[in-house]
């Protein structure tokens, strides 16, 4: 660190775009053809999933894709190095739905 840097206020680099309204927060992103994901959460606190039927949801207008715990189990995301691999509760309790 250069001499005299310790204790000196340092200007932040991100302030310029935040102050002028040009920060790209997630909701500000607008790519052509972008789709939107909704997380569907369990309506009960604790349950065993017997069966997931996505047929009605898949037939709904505008739905691109529905992902469930089964999709996750088939192709798990790589775990972040140095963090324990976490199998999400998706397989047991929740569903993920994508719509355009």
């Amino acid at each position: 660190m250069p001499d005299g840097a310790i204790g000196t206020p340092i200007r932040r680099r991100e302030d310029q775009r935040f102050l002028t309204g040009t920060g790209q927060y997630v909701d500000d992103v607008n790519c052509p053809g972008q789709t939107y994901a909704w997380m569907v959460r369990s309506s009960v606190a604790h349950a065993a999933i017997k069966r997931v039927d996505t047929s009605k949801a898949e037939a709904a207008p505008g739905v691109v894709r529905i992902l469930t715990g089964a999709d996750w189990a088939a192709k798990p995301a790589p775990s972040v190095r140095a963090l324990p691999s976490r199998t999400p509760c998706l397989t047991r309790l929740a569903q993920k739905v994508s719509t355009p």
């Binding site: 206020p9 102050l19 002028t20 309204g21 790209q24 927060y25 607008n30």
Partner: protein
């Protein structure tokens, strides 16, 4: 769904778009005009992240319809800086580390300008904190925002 053509001046420029009657001003700005500096932070008119100026007055754009603003003069955070030169309020926020994640900042800056303009003669910390009640910040604890506004007041009323 009924639609209307809504025209207004935004940051000095004449704009016009055909929108559903239920379109909020904040949606008009963000989605129809692509100006995403004005943010949506709540669904309840509480947080103030959507604050813009309409006819010079700070107004929460989430709680007014675009068609209610027909013909008006609107200013957003994107219209404050003059090219590369920041508005004194923006500069004060930067100098005083009045932002962290920056999400509330556009609304804070727009509201703060209103606070200064309403209190030109004198402005104290208590008044700033009271008049900032319509703007929420989760990051900073407000302390540096208050400092920035008081500093900007000095600059702007010099």
């Amino acid at each position: 769904m009924a639609t209307t053509t809504v025209s207004m001046t935004v940051n000095g420029k004449q704009v016009s778009a055909d929108v559903e009657n239920r379109t909020l001003l904040v949606q008009y700005l963000r989605e129809d005009l692509g100006m995403t500096g004005t943010h949506v932070g709540c669904d309840t008119t509480q947080c103030g992240a959507c604050t813009v100026h309409i006819g010079g007055l700070p107004i929460k754009s989430c709680t007014i319809l675009a068609r209610q603003v027909e013909g008006a003069d609107v200013k957003t955070i994107e219209g404050l800086a003059d090219g590369d030169t920041l508005h004194p309020m923006q500069e004060a926020f930067r100098e005083n580390h009045a932002l962290q994640c920056g999400f509330c900042t556009p609304g804070m800056v727009m509201s703060a300008i209103g606070i200064v303009e309403r209190n030109k003669d004198s402005l104290d910390e208590k008044t700033v904190r009271e008049e900032l009640e319509g703007n929420f910040c989760r990051c900073t604890g407000y302390h540096n925002i208050v400092k920035a506004i008081l500093a900007a007041h000095k600059e702007m009323t010099a």
